[in-house]
C-alpha cells in the first residue's frame, strides 16, 4: 500500500500548501487595502488641520525635485530621441517625416511623460522615502514622535505627499520639454526636417487638452508615489531585512498602481469624455 499512499499524500500536502499560501496572500491584500483606506483618511484629516507643514514640505520638495532633475532630463531627452527615431523610420516609408514632432510630442504629453516620470520618481525618491521611514521606525524615532504628541502622519507623511503632489507635475513638464528637445534633435539632424515645420506640426497636434491631461495624470502619479512610499515605510517590519522588503514592495506596488491609474484615466478621457 505505501507505494500508492505516498504520491497522494504528497499531492494533498502540496495542495494544502498552495491553499495556505493563497489564503495568506489574500489576507495580506485585504489587510493592506483596509490599512490604506484608514491611512488615506488620516492623511486627509491631517492635511486639513494645523499645524501647516510649510517648512518641511519645502524641504521635501527640494529633495524630490532637485534630486530627480538630472535623471529626468537625461531620461526624457533619450526617450524623445529614440521614440522619434523609431517613428521616423516607419513614417519615412510614407514620406511623412515632418510629422515626427507632432507624433512624438503627442505621445510624450499623453502617455510617456507622466508614466516615466512617475517610475523614475518612485525608483529614485519613493524608495528612499520608504527606506528612511523604516529606518526611523527601527530606531524608535517614530515612537519618539508619538510620545512627544506629534502624529507621524502629520510630521512625516504630509510633507512628503504634498512635496510629490507639487513637484511631480513640474518634473513631468520638464520631461515633456526635454523629450521634445530629443525629438527635435533627431528630426532635424537625422531626418533633415525643417525646424519650423517640426514646431508648427507639434503645436498643431499638442493642444491645451493634452497638456491638462498630462498635468492631471501627473497629479495622480505624485499622490500615488507619495502616499504609497510612506505607507509601506510605516507598515514595514523593522530591521535591515524589513528595509529591503518594504522598499521592493513599495516600488513594485507604486509601478503597478501608476500603470493601472494611468490606463483608467486614459480610458475615461477617450471613451467617456
Amino acid at each position: 500500500m505505501p507505494s500508492t499512499a505516498t504520491p497522494s499524500l504528497s499531492l494533498v500536502r502540496s495542495v494544502t500548501k498552495l491553499a495556505n499560501s493563497c489564503y495568506l496572500r489574500c489576507h495580506s491584500l485585504v489587510s493592506h487595502i483596509g490599512g490604506f483606506i484608514v491611512y488615506s483618511s488620516e492623511i486627509f484629516y491631517h492635511a486639513l488641520h494645523k499645524p501647516l507643514r510649510v517648512y518641511e514640505t519645502i524641504q521635501q520638495m527640494e529633495f524630490v525635485g532637485y534630486q530627480s532633475m538630472m535623471i529626468i532630463s537625461v531620461a526624457a531627452y533619450f526617450t524623445g530621441a529614440v521614440f522619434s527615431l523609431q517613428v521616423g523610420e516607419v513614417i519615412s516609408i510614407f514620406d511623412a517625416q515632418s510629422l515626427i514632432g507632432a507624433i512624438t510630442c503627442d505621445a510624450l504629453a499623453n502617455a510617456l511623460a507622466p508614466i516615466i516620470t512617475g517610475f523614475l520618481v518612485a525608483g529614485r525618491i519613493g524608495s528612499s522615502m520608504t527606506a528612511e521611514i523604516v529606518s526611523m521606525k527601527s530606531k524608535e524615532q517614530i515612537d519618539a514622535l508619538k510620545v512627544m504628541g506629534v502624529h507621524p502622519i502629520s510630521y512625516l507623511v504630509i510633507p512628503r505627499v504634498f512635496a510629490c503632489l507639487f513637484t511631480v507635475p513640474c518634473l513631468t513638464v520638464f520631461f515633456f520639454l526635454f523629450g521634445s528637445i530629443g525629438a527635435f534633435t533627431v528630426s532635424t539632424f537625422v531626418f533633415f526636417v525643417d525646424a519650423g515645420l517640426f514646431l508648427e506640426y507639434a503645436i498643431l497636434k499638442v493642444n491645451w487638452d493634452d497638456i491638462s491631461l498630462m498635468l492631471g495624470k501627473s497629479l495622480v502619479v505624485g499622490w500615488t508615489v507619495g502616499t504609497l512610499s510612506c505607507y509601506f515605510g510605516l507598515r514595514a517590519k523593522t530591521g535591515n531585512h524589513g528595509i529591503g522588503q518594504a522598499t521592493v514592495l513599495s516600488v513594485a506596488t507604486t509601478f503597478i498602481m501608476i500603470m493601472i491609474l494611468d490606463s483608467l484615466i486614459t480610458f475615461i478621457e477617450t471613451i467617456i469624455l
Binding site: P51, L52, Y55, S135, M136, K139, E140, Q141, D143, A144, K146, V147, M148, G149, V150, H151, Y155
Partner: protein
C-alpha cells in the same frame, strides 16, 4: 497620590507571553526604578505607560482614570506633559543637536512660523549647559558618542519641563563615567523639581538603591518585589540577594 497603577496587566507577542498579571503602582513625585533581567518586559511596561502598547488584559490607571480609555486627544495632551528617554536615544538623524533639542518645544508651540530659531536659541543653550554639552549645538547626532547622544535625548525630554519623565535604560552600554553623569543628571532634575515623577527602567541595581524612592522588580513578567530600597536591601530572598550580588546573569 498615585500616578500610575497597573492591575493584572498581561501581554503576549504571538506565542511569547511577556507580562503575566503584572501589578504595581508608581507614586507621584517619586523616583521609581523598574528593575529586572533582560527580556523581563521592562521596556514593554514603560511603553504601556506612554500609550505605545496596549495590554491584552488588565487595567492601567493614570491618576485614578482609566488610561486605556483615553481618547486620542487626551492621549496627546498627556504625552505633551511627559518626557521619554528611549533606550537607543531615538534622536532624529536628519536634524542637528539644536533642532533635536527644541523639537518638542517647537511642535507644542502655537506659533505659525516655527522656523524662527531665535526664540528657542536661549532655551537650547540653557539645556545644553545643564547636560554639559555646550558648543555642540550645530553638530549632527551621528557625530556624537553614544553617551553624548543619550544626554542630548535627555535634553530633548527636559525642554518641555515635563511632569513625568520616563527613562529606558539611561546608562546601559555607557562607560562608568558617562553612566555616572547621566545618573547625576537624573538626580539633579529630580532635585530641581520635587513634584516631578520619574520612572527609570534599569539594570543598575546600585543606582536604584542609592537614588530610588521606590523599587519594582519584575520576574517572569510579574512583580517579584515592590517597595523601598531599604526593604530591598534587607530582603532575605535568594533571588534578590543574587541580584544584589550581581550573580544574576
Amino acid at each position: 497620590m498615585i500616578a500610575f497603577q497597573f492591575k493584572n496587566v498581561s501581554k503576549s507577542f504571538q506565542n511569547l507571553s511577556v507580562l503575566k498579571d503584572l501589578s504595581f503602582r508608581i507614586a507621584k513625585g517619586e523616583l521609581s526604578y523598574i528593575i529586572g533581567r533582560s527580556g523581563e518586559g521592562k521596556s514593554v511596561s514603560l511603553r504601556m505607560m506612554v500609550g505605545l502598547l496596549r495590554p491584552d488584559s488588565g487595567e492601567i490607571l493614570f491618576e485614578g482614570d482609566d488610561f486605556l480609555q483615553f481618547s486620542s486627544k487626551e492621549l496627546t495632551k498627556f504625552r505633551k506633559s511627559v518626557g521619554v528617554l528611549f533606550q537607543h536615544s531615538a534622536l532624529f538623524d536628519s536634524l542637528s543637536v539644536f533642532d533635536n533639542i527644541v523639537f518638542p518645544k517647537k511642535e507644542h508651540s502655537q506659533r505659525l512660523w516655527k522656523t524662527d530659531a531665535r526664540w528657542l536659541r536661549a532655551e537650547a543653550e540653557n539645556i545644553l549647559e545643564i547636560i554639559g554639552l555646550k558648543g555642540t549645538m550645530d553638530s549632527m547626532p551621528q557625530d556624537l558618542s553614544v553617551g553624548e547622544r543619550h544626554r542630548v535625548a535627555l535634553g530633548r525630554a527636559l525642554i518641555t519641563k515635563p511632569a513625568i519623565l520616563f527613562y529606558d535604560e539611561p546608562t546601559t552600554g555607557l562607560d562608568p563615567i558617562y553612566a555616572k553623569k547621566i545618573d547625576e543628571l537624573i538626580i539633579q532634575t529630580k532635585e530641581k523639581d520635587p513634584n516631578l515623577t520619574a520612572v527609570v527602567v534599569s539594570h543598575d541595581i546600585h543606582a536604584a538603591m542609592r537614588y530610588g524612592d521606590h523599587i519594582i522588580m519584575l520576574k517572569n513578567g510579574s512583580t517579584y518585589f515592590q517597595g523601598a530600597p531599604d526593604e530591598f536591601q534587607n530582603s532575605t530572598d535568594t533571588y534578590i540577594k543574587q541580584f544584589l550580588g550581581g550573580h544574576w546573569f
